[in-house]
Structure formats: C-alpha cells, structure tokens
Symmetry: C2
Subunit: 345 residues, 2 copies
Amino acid sequence: MAHTSHTGEAADCISVVLHRRPDGAPRKDDFELVHAAIPTPGDGEVLTRNIMLSIDPYMRGRLSDRKSYATPVQIGEVMTGETVGEVLASHDPRFLVGDVVVGARGWQTHTISKGAALTKVAAGVVPLSTYLGVLGMPGTTAYSGMTDIGKVKPGETVVISAASGAVGSVAGQLAKRAGARVVGIAGGPDKCLWVQEVLGFDACVDHRANLEADLADACPRGIDVYFENVGGNVQRVALSLLNNFARVIFCGMVAQYNERELPPGPNLGFMVAKRVHMEGLLVFDKPGRMQEWREKATPWIQDGSLKYRETILDGLENAPDALAGILTGDNFGKMLVRIGADPVG
Amino acid sequence: MAHTSHTGEAADCISVVLHRRPDGAPRKDDFELVHAAIPTPGDGEVLTRNIMLSIDPYMRGRLSDRKSYATPVQIGEVMTGETVGEVLASHDPRFLVGDVVVGARGWQTHTISKGAALTKVAAGVVPLSTYLGVLGMPGTTAYSGMTDIGKVKPGETVVISAASGAVGSVAGQLAKRAGARVVGIAGGPDKCLWVQEVLGFDACVDHRANLEADLADACPRGIDVYFENVGGNVQRVALSLLNNFARVIFCGMVAQYNERELPPGPNLGFMVAKRVHMEGLLVFDKPGRMQEWREKATPWIQDGSLKYRETILDGLENAPDALAGILTGDNFGKMLVRIGADPVG
C-alpha cells in the first residue's frame, strides 16, 4: 500500500482509498493510504474522529464493478465502512462535541457526515465496539432474519452457517432463546468448541471435516430453519436436509465473494415437494429494527447472557488485511479495526 | 400394454396398473391394462363410474421410487389420478345414485372411494371436465400461488412458464385481473399465439426460439413475480431477470421429471442482493382454497371471461400416452382422458 499526501502539509486525516479493483481475493496493494488535512464540516454536517471501524463481508461487493444493490466504490474513492467515533465539530444542533456516534462511513481517521446519517450512542454503558457488532448491523441482521423469516418454533431444528461470526453467533443464540435445537457450522475445532461451549449451541459441525455425515448426525429430525451466511458446499449440504415447510434466510454467501465466476447452485426441485420458503435479507430495508434490537439486547450484553467475540486489528493500515481475512474465515467473531482511542472519561 | 383378466368372467372394471418403473420418459408398456369384476362398495364407500380422468405432471413422481411428499405407486397397483364420475352405488348417505362427484382416484373405469374423499358437483352448470382443470386442482393451484405467494400489485411484471398449461393459463389471467403486465413462456408459435390472443397476456415468448433475448425484451422493467412450472433453462433465464423484492412461486419443474440425474440449479447469490422471496406450493396444504376458487371462478366460466383449453384423449387405454405427452409439452391446455360418457339428462 502506497502512502501519499495530497496536501503535503497538516496531513492529519488518513484515508484508505481503492487503488484498483481486486482480482479474486483483495490484497493490501489494491488499496492506498492517503494523507490530507482534517476537513471542516459544512452546514448540517458533523466531523468525527473515528475510534473503531467495522469490517464486513459485504464490503467485497463494493470493490467489484458488478451491478448490485449498492453503488461500487470507485477507484480513488475512500473505502466505505461503518465507524463508531467521537464528535470533534458539529454544525448540526443534535450533536455536541464529545458525543459518541455510529454511522459515519469510511476507512479513515476523520469523517464528515450529514447529521441525519448519525446515531448518538451512550458512552460507558457497553463497549463501543458492540455498536458495530452484536448491537449493530450484524446483530440487527440476525434479529431481523430470525424475526421476519425464520419464525422459529420450540423444538424445531435450526442450522446456522458461519456460526461463530458476528451474524451467526447472534442468530443461533436467538434460536436457542426461542426453544429450538440449534446446530452451528463453523471452520475448525476452536470455533466449533466456542460455539458449543460459550454460545451454548446444541452442536457445531466443522465444515472442513466430514460435513455431510456430521451435519446429518447433528440434525436427526432434519432442518426446519437454515440461516445462510456461506454458500457453496455448506449450502448444498444444508439444503439437502431441509424438512417440509422449512425456512431459509439468505443473509450472505461469503464463500463465493472472491470468485471470478459464480458456480452453479442446487437443483431447486425440492422447493415444491417440501414447500420451502427462501428469502433474502438486507438489514437496511427495515430501518426501525436497529433501534428495536439495540434496546432489546443491551440488557443481555450487560447481564452477560448474550455472548459475542471480536477480532480487533490495531491501526487503520490493517483494514485491507482485515477484509481479506474475513473472506477466508481468519477472523474469530466480529472483525474490527481500531483507528483511535476511546474517549477519555 | 398387456391385457389381462384377473377373473376371466364379468370383467367390466378396467384399470391401468404400473407394470414397471419407467426409465426416463414413461412408455405405454410400463403399464398394464387389467380387467376385473366391478367391485361392490363396503360400509361408508361409494362406487363411481368414471367419466373423465385428469392427467397431471405430478404423476411422473408417483412412478419413481424417489422419496417425495407422496408414496409412490407400487408395481401392480392401479395408477393414481383424479376423476369426475357418476355414482353407481353408495353406502354413504351423502351420495345418491346418479350424483356427479370429483375425487375418486384411479386410472380405471370404476372406483371404490370413501365418501369423505368425494365432492359432489352440480351437473349441467359447466362442462364436467372443468372440475378437473380450470375449476379443479390446477386452477386452484394457480389461485393459491397467486394469492398466498405472488401477491401481485398493479403495474408489476408477472412471468408465467408453461403459460398455455392448466395452471399457467389461470395464473396469468389472475395476474391480468390484478392489473399486472403479464408475459407467458410457452413451447411453439401456436401456444404463444393462443396465450396472447385468447388469454390476453401482454406477450408470450417461445422457449424454443431465442428465450434469453426475447424474455428480456418482453420484460423491459424486469420481473416482479415468476410462476415456475418448468425448471431447467427457462428457470435460469427467468430468475436472471428478477427485480428487488421479487416473488417466485415454485409450482412444478416439469422439464426435469423424466431426468435420471437432476441437473445443477442457479447460483443463489441474487437471493440476498435482490431480497427475493421463493416459496414452494402444494395445493392440498390449504384444502379450503378449492371450494373458494370454485365459487369465485364458476361465474367467470359461465360468462366466458376465464378462458381455458383442453386436450382430451378418448379411451382409458390412452392414459399412458397422455402422461408421456404432458411431460414433453404435447398437450395444449389441460390434459384429460375420457373414460365414459357424460350422464344422460
């Protein structure tokens, strides 16, 4: 990654911009670190000092030219990503200097945002990182998917792929609270152990081992709800075990985000015979869910009953590695980059 | 097809039984014509003389050993199929000799049924054949799919595969009544012409011609609802044109019912980005819909506003050919076999 200064002076705002579109897995030198002066907010705008940056699988889609639900990041543009930060200057009366806010977007140390994009959060109640993970977009995604599509009934079998991830770990714990038998799928024995022992899933299957036989063993009564975060072979095996009237929540397919050509999928004949309901989910379609989830889950974070885990890389310059890692499962739990220190006091 | 008499005398009940499981497309000699005495109904049972037999794509599934939602027909068993018939003898007080009933099952001239399986229909109001097609299981399937899954809004684009078939022709006309732009997919120019000119679809694309370009041309604003009866390449092309929040009604995939190995399906990455809702449908899951549909649609048959078309083969011995034909699209509209004459007067 090259370091350039656009101004050559007072260069205190550092941003990661897209240097070229990755071919396959993103690499560090697909990005460029750019130094510039700290910008000044205009009318209705707010300047934040970013503390923590969320790294999420959807970001891979923003690096491609492929048409999708969101505009891709352009070459030379600052890479997008949600942050939690501290207000340094505000021309929006709703935000004061020192407020902690979520919603400023960008892989950068300082961001200018419209006030309408920001949400003030309480400092000192829960760790600030949770506003980007378990209480943020990933947690809300899990909550929406389970509430609107999964509709888990007690005694049903629920399977969660990427079970140790930011979304999967919440989805599975919600299914447990709903009285289901919950089976995770994760990569490697460490993650599987954590999913069973800490998250309290009934079982967790290592997709790098004998997935087909192990998942069938773990789901003796078939699968009623499948929460899809992965795609590929994991998807194929999980769909083969669906029961009549099963629901499949399509949240992501991280296994194929680096693929140049999309592989074929499963034959869909089972859709009719089993009357399966499959539905795709993007969290921003129902904006009210975020606040609803934050209010519901904050006490569960405080009393320790909702478990979560984070991998935090230190320093903005490590954001490209963090993204590359999340696409291959190097992270354990929610992936974050620390950009600056928590506010004092 | 061999002709055998199990009794050698008073052999007036003729049945088509499964002789061996078809390998690929069913053939006439996979079945056997069996003569026997006309049976006598027991307690609570009804004997019908069958007039018309419905031939439907789902029947191919009953010929395979593959596990599905229904038990396969066993070798030597009478092939299953819905009939409309006349009561010849009844030990159920709800049915009188001469009543016309739907629900007796079997490729045969005479059937013994439990009274609970039968529904009395009015004779002389609409052609009896309609109780097996446009007013029967296929029509109700279309109605259920559009009501429970399709939820068409005015101005949306709705695509119907097998558009000239018993289900598709009703599904498309319902979408027109809901104010949608309706595009059919059918096999060959004759069917396409009928779908446009008689059913009144806005367009109909011949899947044997240039499907990919023609369907895109016919759906300039993409596809909001896809009614799936076919599978294979038609499915692949239709799914590639889905809009955000599209609904896909999985009713059948007739193109693959004769396949020995199921081909792969589409990559499902679009499910997330487009928030697609896909759902499978079997008409018997909501038994109330049949009566509801019959009451709603009978006036539309009487006033001629709901169009339908039938292919009727004459003689029970032609039922195997009728089934083979429906799996390759030889039929035009609802496929039926006439077994006996309509009741007199």
